[in-house]
Every structure is written in C-alpha cells, then in structure tokens.
Amino acid sequence: MAQTAKAKIGSARNRTFMAILIPVLVIFVLFNTIPLITGFFYSFTDSKGYGSFSIVGIQNYIDLFTDTRVLNSYLFTFKVAVVATILTNVISLTLAIGLSSKIKFKSALRGVYFVPRILGGLVVGYVFSYFFTYILPALTGTASMLASTEWAWVAIVVVLVWQACAQTTIIYITGLSSVPEDVYEAGALDGATGWDKFRYITFPLIMPSITTNMVLVMKDMLMVFDQIVSMTSGGPAQSTESISYLIYQNGLNNSQFGFQCANAVIFFILIAVVSILQTKFLNSKEEQL
C-alpha cells in the first residue's frame, strides 16, 4: 500500500520533469537544430535565397577554397583574432596585477576600467572610427588608417582590444585573488621576487584564468561583426571583411545563399575545433595546488 503510494508520487514527479523537458527541447530544436540542419542542406545547393534551386553536391565547398574573397576573409579574421587575443590577454594580465596591488582608489579604478564592457560594439566602433579618421591623422600628420588596405586591420584590433580588456581584466583579478597569500610567503622564503615570483608562482596558479580568457576572447574575436559594420563595412577594397560579415553581406544581400551556407558550415566547424583544441591544450598546462 505504502509502496504504491510512493510509486504514484514518483511517477507524478517524473511526469512533471518530462512536461518541463519536452517543450524546452522542442523550442531548442525548432530554433537551433533545425536551422543548423537547413543551413547544412542549403550548403549543397545553388540557392540564391529566393526562387528555385538545385542540388549541386559539394561544388560550393570546392569553390570555397578557390574563392579569393572567402580566403581573404579567413586570413583577415584569423590575423585579427590571434593578434587581438594575445594583446588583450597581455594587457589585461598587466592591468589586473596593477589593480590587485596595494593601490589607492582601487574600486574606483576597477570600476572605470570595466566601462568598455557594458558599451555596444557598434556605437564604440562609430566613436573610434571618428578618432581614426580625424583625430589620429591630425596628430600624426598621416592619412587615415581606415582608408588604408595595409593599416585598417590594426585599427580594428585596437577597438576590439579596447573593449575586450574590460572583462578579461576582471577575470584575471578574480584569478589573482584566489592565489593564497602563504604561497607567496613560502616563495619569498625561497628568495622568489619580481619576475621569478610571477613566472614560477603566479603564472602557473592562474592558468585556469588564462585558459578561460584565451578561449572566451578568441571565440568572440573570430565572430567579429559589429565593429566591422561600424568602422569599415569590410573596406577598403574588401580588406577588412570578417567571416561573419562576408556571410551576412553575400549570403543575405548578394544572392550567394547556398554558397555562404557552405562557408558558414566550415566556419562552424572551425569555431568548434578551435574552442575544443584551445581548452585541451591550455588545460594540460594547468597546475594543481
């Protein structure tokens, strides 16, 4: 008797859980899995995004590797992502060490250095685009970086780093604060100071934060879009087209729907592989206390 009552409650509980799980899964599949599969399907067609289309097999994928505009967008995106990720992490770690030392106005300083994180990439891009077009050339007497196919990517990196440092710094501050004081004291007894202290004590112990930051920043940078829209629109001469921007521009506005779906599939695989590899590689360097 008691057992059946218990079983009844148990099954009511299970029903509730299933009643929660199923609708959530349905919505997720409908707006994530299905578009993913549809995109995959379209990558094998010559669809323009409207009208009729036919299946072309792997032709789009073959064409991707010979399309200079696509190849350039990959080169550009990776160049920007790698440089910006390294710069962001170096600057942020330096800032975080400064902001974690015995300084005056600590919380005010931390508060202001965090401000770029809350601002939208688009508007920040517009503000910086003015800076690079009018202020910087007037200061240095050179032409605008944004008008140069050689230098425009540097301007993009500057804006990306400016914004990304905010969050990265805060994560490093948290990481630094979790290093116990007695580890430093023990290190000091062994004569570790300055650079050695950082290299052999701090650095290995904040490896988890470095992993987190490298992966987070790299992923964000690879998907860069807003700053491209507001600063260069991919120009000059298509020299600053990021992968996302090219997919948006040609897939939705220039009738390359099927072709850009193939591009997006490759991009998706790349993002997944980079994130997994980075986590694996950096995790192997973590120290346990």
Binding site: F17, L36, F225, F267
Partner: protein, 281 residues
C-alpha cells in the same frame, strides 16, 4: 586594538600609472561628449577645435538626434526585448536546468538532452542566420517577438550550464522534506528551489541582458527591413542617412550609450559580479 596592525604602504607608482592609463578609457568618451554638445560651426579643422570644450553647452544636438532617430521608440523596443528575454530566460532556463540537473544522473534522456543543449554553445549565429531569416518569415516571427524567442534559445546553452552547475550545490534534502509534506514537484520548485537560486538569476540577468541590449546582428537580419528599430539598429540607419553631421551623430551615440551607463552606475557591483560569475563558472 584596531590600530594594532601597521597600515600597509600604498604603492603610489602603480596607482599613478593606472590613473594615467585611464586616458585610454576616458578619452574616447570625452571626445564623444564635447563633440555632442558643440554647434557644428565650432568644429574647426584642427584638433583644438574638435577637442576643446564647447563654448555653450547646448542640448540642441540631443533634441535633434532624438527626433531623427526616433529615440524613445527605439529605446522602448530595446527595453521590451531585453526585459522580456531576460525574464523568460530566468524562468525557463532555470526550470529546464532543474528538470535536467536533478535527473541527468538517473536517466539517460536527461543526460543526452543536457549535452545536446550545451553543444549549442559552439554554434555561431552566422550559420543559423540565413536559414532563420527564411524560417522566421514563414512563421510570422520576423518581428520583436521572434527576436525575443531567438534570444531565449541562443542563451539557453550558457544559462543551462550556469544553472545546473549551481544546482549541484543545492542539497536535495530540502526538496525531499517538502515532498514528505505533500508538496508537488512544481510547487516545490517555485517555492523552494527558485528563490534559492537568486545569485544565479542575477548572473544570468546581467550576462543575458548585456548581450541582448547591445546585440546588432539578430535584430538586423530578422527584422531589419520592417522599420521597427532597436537602439543599435537606429544608430545604423542614422549613420547611413545623416552621417556627415558629426555633432548630431555623437549626440546620438551618447544617447545610445546613456541607458547602459546609468544602469552601470546604479548596479556596478552586480554587473561586474555577474559578468565574472558567468565567465568563470
């Protein structure tokens, strides 16, 4: 007693370096403010003319910018989408995480569902974007409701991970006690578990809210042609139409940044805490 410990010495060189470094943060904002308050006639071609303080602090540019970008409507649209996405995310994602988290060690379907949803983190919007444009149009969701629904789906993997992680530290004994008292699973959740997850709700609200408020791509592709703007979309349209009047443009940029800056001043601790939690967990 209180003064027994010698106060540690302030590291002034580092303090000063950090204050000098603030120029990099403050300068772009200073530039935006002085240009936004100036009359176009004050803008001479040299830097001094651009960067000097305005001779009179006039709000004319702001009033004009509000008119041409239809500021209040875009602001309201952004606010509605953000608040709706955040509230629905907190309710749905926490509930889903509860159902999954409490069962994934006992039942395979919940475990599979968990990894299935989490894997969504590796899917960039770029690949979903093109099919979604078609799909939302067919479903008549190429509007604010559709954009809101998409956000709830896009942030599900991340939030699911945060909530299930948090739930591991909420003892099951609490629920069992309620169950013995005859409360249903549903009631137990809303009465006991949901309030316990308050710190995680704050984190989810901050990271989802910031991302949604500042997002450009989703509204751009889903409802770009509809004439309904969010704040970032209004900036984009403004840029294509009136970009040559920089004083007006900067007033408009400042207006777009202002709501978030005010919010940050009010809730700085929660925002920094939320962003850190969301990234580190």
């Amino acid at each position: 007693m209180a003064k027994a410990k010698v106060k540690e010495r302030v590291n002034w060189p580092v303090t000063i370096l950090l204050i000098v470094g603030l120029i990099t943060i403050v300068f772009p904002l200073y530039m935006a403010v002085v240009i936004a308050f100036k009359d176009p006639s004050e803008m001479t071609n040299d830097i001094a003319g651009i960067l000097s303080l305005p001779s009179t602090w006039s709000l004319d540019n702001f009033i004009e910018a509000m008119r041409v970008t239809d500021f209040f409507r875009s602001f309201m649209n952004s606010l509605i989408i953000t608040v709706a996405a955040v509230v629905v995310s907190i309710l749905v994602h926490s509930l889903a995480a509860y159902a999954i988290g409490r069962n994934m060690d006992r039942k395979k379907i919940f475990k599979v569902s968990y990894y299935f949803i989490i894997a969504g983190m590796y899917v960039p919007f770029a690949i979903l974007m093109m099919p979604l444009v078609k799909q939302t149009a067919v479903m008549h969701l190429d509007n604010m409701v559709g954009v809101m629904v998409l956000y709830v789906v896009f942030y599900m993997p991340m939030n699911m991970m945060l909530y299930t992680g948090y739930l591991r530290n909420v003892p099951v004994a609490l629920e069992e006690a309620a169950r013995v008292d005859g409360a249903s699973t549903w009631t137990t959740y809303w009465k006991i578990i949901f309030p316990l997850m308050k710190p995680m709700h704050a984190t989810v609200a901050v990271i989802t809210g910031l991302a949604v408020w500042n997002d450009v791509m989703t509204p751009l592709v889903i409802m770009g042609g509809s004439g309904v703007n969010t704040l970032p979309l209004a900036q984009m349209n403004f840029q294509t139409a009136f970009a040559t009047n920089y004083n007006l443009a900067f007033a408009s940029y400042l207006l777009a940044m202002l709501p978030m800056i005010i919010f940050y001043i009010v809730a700085q601790k929660q925002i920094i805490g939320g962003v850190t939690n969301g990234a580190v967990k």
